[in-house]
Symmetry: C2
Subunit: 111 residues, 2 copies
DNA sequence: ATTTAATATTCCCTTGAAGGAATATTCCCG
DNA sequence: CGGGAATATTCCTTCAAGGGAATATTAAAT
């Protein structure tokens, strides 16, 4: 994840809402535009952006197109976040170790 | 996290790079602008955006200002991601359960 | 083959975000 | 107090993203 495209995709409020909407499973363009109260062309445009950013995937079914969240995309974001927060975890671990050592020393030489 | 501000903050390549730069710990504006090879005013501007989005925090020290990543912000993103992916996990669990049941039935009535 | 539903695309316009350059602010030091 | 370093802010300009409206495309149905 050095892909700022994913972030720009999610930065737009309507697109973020689309993602929220797709939590429970894929929806058609019509359903999406209806529930978000936006016009169909805007829905299509936003979905295109999400698609190209890899946030979303389509599968056609006759006339309709179902858009659903793309797992890999979210997995990548999670990995990236972990790669950042794990540094902090390590620091916490070291702090705990340190405190533990201090505690041991206290036991050996009370008062 | 319904805050698209965080995403718009990270959507800009320079700002994303700033976050990457701050992984190891806080830096001053000067250091940041130097390492990213951007002019100081731009660095300040980007840092302002990151600050207002809550991605980053400052603490002043004499003349300088150290910017560092703000943990809460990343925690919130992680929580949001989990709230999305956990639905998938549940589904997987149910699938596994289902497969397990089928396996049991096989044992009871082989061939 | 024509019509109709669902979706995508295009064109135009407006607004906001980002960079450049200059300037303001803050703080330390002598 | 005056000077200089570090940082923030302002003004201006440019460019791309997003909405509206109209139109094109695709596929089904009759």
């Amino acid at each position: 994840m050095n892909n700022t495209n994913v972030f720009s995709a999610l930065a737009e409020p309507n697109r973020f809402q689309i993602v929220e909407l797709l939590r429970r499973g894929p929806l058609t363009v019509g359903e999406i535009s209806e529930r978000l109260a936006i016009r169909q062309p805007q829905a299509s445009k936003h979905l295109r952006v999400l698609l190209e950013a890899g946030v979303v995937e389509v599968h056609a079914e006759a006339n309709r197109r179902f858009y659903g969240l793309r797992r890999e995309s979210f997995q990548e974001m999670e990995d990236w976040l972990k790669s950042i927060t794990e540094v902090w975890e390590e620091r916490l671990d070291r702090l705990e170790q340190y405190l533990q050592v201090m505690k041991e020393n206290q036991k050996q030489r009370p008062e």
